[in-house]
Symmetry: C2
DNA sequence: AAGCTTCATGTCAACGATTACCTAGGCGAA
DNA sequence: TTCGCCTAGGTAATCGTTGACATGAAGCTT
């Protein structure tokens, strides 16, 4: 049976009222008498009427939907964010559009524009490196996640990459390390840049020499990080510690460490990951929990969408905890010997 | 500047033509003279016109969008699927709606209905346990992923859970194991049920005793699996091998093994996971790659959406590879001693 | 009892794009 | 020359829902 779509007017005919009345019942408008409401509701149930969300959105001018844009959906960090956002959105009966920017500014801008063309009610964006100035003219509420948007002053939820990274280096130094390698993603990404700045600032504060040969840039994924870690092992003077500035790269680092039998090198990861506490030594991490960030972001977005108050954009900084599991508390081999 | 939305008619006015002509240009219809086309295109660019996808969808009756429903978006297995689907959809300029069913039939049905109300052009569903009979009347093309849909005969892409599981048990038995524990999710889920059936069938074929005390059901996540694994350790006669029938539960199992110092117990995981080849022993897995399944599903869905041929529903079975990394090739302690 | 509210409903247009259909030239063929 | 057909372009209706506004009946006030 080719069940034609049931429209408001179909229900109206069946119930002997006007479409408007059915609309009122369907939307819980109280200006309908009990009897009429009951009669209409019965027909709605009987015919299995469902609003056509396309028509509704066209009429209303916005779609009850939030658009979520992340660099890569498959990354557990972002996947968890999406899950959290979707869960909360669902409670508000908001739908969720998800798009990956593919770590590519062109694609990133395109998917955001597509969402605008869909008239999403709000956007949550974990930006990669697009310039978001073009978003200023669309008056769609937007919250940025994990990084600032370049070119646009908007709400943002993030961590203090600079300070937290500094803390990691101080932690390692307090265990006697002075040659600390840095594994970092593309420096064009704000997050990476600020983590490196924190790493360097700590060196200054501690009076340690900054050796550019210890900084490994462009570690865009676990594989590259693994390669760089092997390079670390073969340096003339092997670093005694590694600061991996992203959870994904940490996976590459530990892979190299375990396969290369160099688990004596201390490691701290910016961001927790699944296996971190199973390995031996278990990996010390900065607990960069995506759920916390995501929750704050969607909750703020919902406030913005209600759109009552026109507050100025606000920045929320989530503090992190250092989870000491062992790998970050190893002392340098030389010291161990001398003790 | 409150940049009012630019409509077809605005462009038409600016270019001195009718809205219809602008629509033709925007949609690449060839029945427009070169000069007119150029003039219109210039105005489109100048004014920054973008189609209103809501209006388009309302008029056309469908939205150029695919809906993806998975039990949990955060699970790396499903997150990777979503990533793969989204990437391919993007190339066809399809948008993607994602929703998590929260491992809850009620919610699962609700999110699917919402997608129908949005008039999605197609659906990809990794079903949990909803009865999908209600989908039959909507004539929206749908492809099921990873499991059959109960109540509906539709295209499906999956693996042979029964045969693959049997293979795992045979593999372990060939290394001398006869007490093999099973870690399995809720048996109400088809996948879990068939994996257990495979486990049992192999026991029959091998003439091994089936000890229900070795089957641990309801391992719905890594935490529960970890608990059950601890129980395994404390059994009077400890099993010499474990078959973990889902990647997520395997994480719990290895966690218990490493913390409990029982890495001597053999382990095979149905599904690969990030840390599997870093641990020692590295974990032997059935390589259940979500990308392969997802790719086949979205490609099939795209064919269905074009909707030319009305082929009968088809089932695609993806064969798996057993990746022997060590943990599945351990021999029972007793044998090791006697050797 | 006229006048003012309130309430339950209904009417109509509009949201922005597209589809189905129409028009006015222009050109070649018979 | 006239008919037929193609081309570039236009007109009006429509997709399904909702907002603005209108209506008639009933209730309350003074």
């Amino acid at each position: 049976m080719t069940s034609r779509k049931v429209r408001l007017s179909d229900v109206a005919d069946a119930a002997g009222t006007s479409a408007k009345t059915v609309s009122r019942v369907a939307n819980g408008d109280h200006r309908v008498s009990i009897e009429t409401r009951q009669r209409v509701q019965d027909e709605i149930d009987r015919l299995g009427y469902q609003v056509d969300l396309m028509a509704r959105s066209l009429r209303k001018g916005v779609d009850e939907t939030v658009g979520v844009v992340v660099p890569t959906i498959g990354d557990p960090f972002f996947a968890t964010m999406v899950e959290e956002i979707e869960g909360i959105a669902l409670q508000q009966s908001l739908s969720v559009f998800v798009a990956g920017g593919s770590r590519n500014p062109g694609i990133e801008q395109m998917v955001v524009e597509r969402m605008l063309a869909r008239r999403v009610a709000g956007l949550i964006i974990a930006p990669f490196m697009t310039d978001f100035a073009f978003l200023a003219s669309a008056n769609t509420p937007v919250v940025f996640l994990d990084r600032h948007a370049s070119g646009l002053d908007a709400d943002v939820v993030l961590v203090d990459d600079f300070a937290e990274s500094k803390r990691v280096v101080h932690h390692l130094a307090s265990h006697g390390h002075s040659r600390i390698a840095l594994i970092v993603d593309d420096l064009a990404v704000e997050t990476s840049r600020r983590r490196r700045e924190g790493y360097r600032a700590a060196h200054h504060e501690l009076g340690l020499v900054i050796d550019e040969g210890l900084e490994f840039h462009e570690c865009i994924n676990a594989n590259v990080a693994e390669q760089r870690t092997w390079e670390i092992f073969s340096q003339p003077e092997v670093p005694t510690a590694i600061f991996s500035s992203r959870a994904e790269t940490s996976l590459g680092v530990v892979k190299a460490q375990h396969h290369g039998n160099r688990t004596d090198i201390a490691l701290v990861s910016f961001g927790d990951f699944e296996a971190a506490d199973i390995l031996s030594p278990a990996v010390t991490v900065l607990d960069h929990d995506p759920r916390v960030l995501a929750r704050i972001a969607i909750e703020r977005l919902i406030v913005l969408m209600r759109g009552d108050e026109a507050r100025p954009p606000r920045e929320t900084i989530v503090p992190l905890h250092l989870i000491k599991r062992g790998s970050g508390e190893l002392i340098p081999h030389a010291m161990a010997v001398s003790v």
